[in-house]
């Protein structure tokens, strides 16, 4: 069958997430197993309520599982405290959100520099890097614009540039085209594919749009908190 993949950069083993909502227990993940190798582009698809977002939060170190283990780059993050998780998020993960999630008071350039500030990068260095990243997403002309002065597609490109600012191991994209029309959505997807192909970035993307999901090497279908089907893309 398929060749043995490289050592996985992300590995979820029997991950459970149970939320206590008052009296009711809500099982969001029920024994999720997932492995993503370095340099892979994986889509996670599933209907709403299937646990996509929870899975995303686990991989992104935004939350820790109730049960099970998560390895990121060989490190078990399932028992870490919030401060260490924040550190790992800052260094190893780049987020791209459906709603772009730029800081409204900061310019495009400053938004890209923000994760580098949190990592304590010197000013000159982060300035140069942010400019380079803006150039890569072809927005160097819009450097000093605030998010509300940019179109949706432009904001998402700034967000992509931001996600790359600390050279993360993994880029996590949560419905990256969900708020965009199909044309701008395609442009954004082109940037992601370029990152994957040219820069060799590992990308995990959550989406409910099959056409978007097909851009990935592999599509994992999630239902009721676990993977039910794996599909190789036709590429």
């Amino acid at each position: 069958m398929a060749k043995k993949p490289n050592k996985p950069i992300i590995e979820l083993k029997d991950v459970w997430k149970i939320y206590q909502m008052g009296e009711v227990k809500v099982v969001a993940l029920s024994g999720l197993d997932l492995a993503v190798s370095k340099g892979e582009f994986v889509s996670i698809m599933g209907p709403s309520g299937s646990g996509k977002s929870t899975a995303m939060n686990m991989i992104g170190c935004l939350d820790i599982p109730t049960k099970g283990t998560i390895f990121l780059d060989g490190k078990d993050i399932s028992q870490m405290n919030e401060s260490d998780l924040a550190q790992i998020r800052g260094q190893k993960i780049g987020f791209i959100f459906q709603q772009f999630n730029l800081i409204p008071t900061l310019t495009a350039l400053e938004n890209i520099m923000l994760p580098m500030i949190f990592q304590g990068m010197p000013r000159d260095e982060r300035m140069a890097k942010a400019k380079k990243l803006l150039k890569m997403v072809e927005l160097d002309e819009r450097m000093d614009h605030k998010p509300n002065e940019l179109s949706g597609g432009q904001q998402q490109r700034v967000a992509i540039a931001r996600s790359l600012s600390n050279d993360p191991e993994v880029i996590l994209a949560d419905e990256p085209t969900g708020n965009l029309d199909s044309k701008t959505g395609n442009t954004v997807m082109d940037f992601l594919k370029k990152l994957h192909k040219e820069e060799g970035k590992t990308i995990v993307m959550v989406t409910h749009d099959e056409d978007v999901a097909k851009n990935a090497d592999r599509i994992e279908y999630l239902k009721d908190g676990k993977i039910v089907k794996v599909l190789k893309s036709g590429r």
Binding site: A86, F95, N101, L114, F118
Partner: protein
């Protein structure tokens, strides 16, 4: 790194400019009150201290208890000191010399411009020299008074150079000038050297008997103050007690119910200072209360900011901000509100205090109301306001830092 955080915090504050200013009003009113009132109080204290500073340590003053707060010392006493007390005090052991003095007020007119001022008497005869030495009287222009000067007056230095002339008369008064005192013509025989005290520098001095004959002091056998010079300074407390005992007997009052005071200048100063301190303390307490209210305003604003920016906090956490980073950002924000509020407050307080003392100087021709704002008061007020801003910012900042990244990204409150 911290400068980056400061700039981020400033951005957030400027984004909500109106709310930031409104919140800071609470702080700057409190700080302005502290700075101006303590500054003026301190100025008053310095002024009063300097008035007393020239007096020797070997002098006691005896006064009847006053009923009015304003006016010259010894005036308006319901039971004034009788003149014969002077001789009786003179007989007390360790008393070198005691003499009665008159203090009154009169209109002084020069070139059609008038002003009301204190008039103090200078004793005649052989007491004159002792008094002059005791008070270290010297003239910068003209000469001192003699027993023959029935129409002569000695003026303080301000009539010649200082604030009184500047605010009232159109030219300096010199020795030899004629002035009208209570509409009667006097010749200015001399101008005293500057002493840095309004008691001397604004004073009009004339001979004891002239004050009586010219009707400035009623001829009723009473004196306003008895000045006592002691021989041995080490015995001054005993002498004070002896004088008190004599006065109790003469005035027929019991111990503890004295309607007079016998004080050294230092004691008089201390009692004034303690009153002033109480006033300053009271004012400070009120100002601190207003600062607490201002601080609660900051707290309220910061809690609102945490709610409003829940999502922003979530975003920052997702891109690598730790709890401590979020705490620092919010903490700096509230501290800045405190400190900027403090800076504005200090500016307002200083302009109020200096403005008031300037206006008082123009209106009253006196430098008694003046502001004395030390660098320590300014630094203290600044530290205090920053402290208040941060203290009241701690809880909201903790709340912000503890937000769960997943919930806050969803914008859940």
């Amino acid at each position: 790194m911290i400068s980056d955080y400061i700039s981020l915090s400033v951005r957030s504050l400027l984004k909500r400019r109106l709310r930031t200013y409104l919140t800071m009003i609470g702080i700057f009113i409190g700080i302005a009150a502290v700075v101006s009132l303590i500054g003026l109080g301190e100025g008053l204290r310095v002024a009063i201290t300097s008035q007393f500073g020239f007096l020797g340590t070997d002098v006691l003053s005896v006064q009847a208890a006053n009923i009015n707060f304003a006016g010259a010392p010894g005036q308006g006493a319901p039971n004034p000191l009788q003149e014969d007390l002077v001789d009786k005090i003179n007989k007390i052991n360790n008393v070198d010399r005691a003499f009665g003095r008159y203090i009154g007020s009169a209109t002084i007119e020069f070139r059609d411009k008038q002003k009301i001022e204190f008039i103090v008497s200078i004793p005649g005869g052989e007491d004159r020299r002792i008094f002059e030495r005791m008070m270290n009287l010297k003239t910068q222009d003209g000469r001192l008074l003699t027993d023959q000067d029935t129409r002569g007056a000695l003026l303080g230095s301000n009539y010649h150079t200082g604030t009184t002339y500047g605010a009232t008369f159109d030219r300096p008064i010199n020795a030899g000038d004629k002035v009208l005192i209570n509409d009667k013509q006097f010749t200015v025989v001399g101008i005293l050297e500057n002493k840095g005290s309004f008691i001397f520098d604004d004073a009009i001095m004339m001979n004891n008997d002239v004050m009586i004959t010219e009707g400035i002091k009623a001829d009723d056998g009473t004196v306003n103050i008895i000045g006592v010079k002691v021989k041995d300074v080490d015995q001054i407390e005993q002498t004070r007690l002896d004088i008190e005992k004599l006065l109790r007997k003469e005035r027929d009052v019991k111990e503890g119910e004295e309607d007079f005071t016998v004080q050294t200048p230092q004691q008089a100063l201390e009692s004034l200072n303690s009153t002033l301190f109480a006033v300053q303390l009271f004012v400070t307490i009120i100002a601190v209360i207003s600062l607490v209210v201002g601080g609660i305003g900051i707290m309220n604003t910061m809690y609102t900011a945490v709610l409003e920016r829940t999502k922003e906090i979530g975003i920052m956490k997702s891109i690598g901000a730790r709890n401590s980073t979020i705490f620092t950002l919010f903490f700096i924000e509230s501290g800045m509100m405190g400190m900027i509020g403090g800076l504005i407050g200090i500016g307002l307080g200083m302009s109020f205090a200096y403005g008031l003392s300037y206006i008082a100087g123009l209106a009253l021709g006196s430098d008694l109301i003046r502001a004395s704002i030390s660098i320590w008061l300014v630094l203290g007020a600044l530290a205090f306001s920053f402290f208040f801003g941060t203290i009241f910012g701690v809880l909201p900042a903790i709340r912000a830092s503890k937000l769960n990244p997943v919930d806050s990204l969803r914008g859940a409150k």
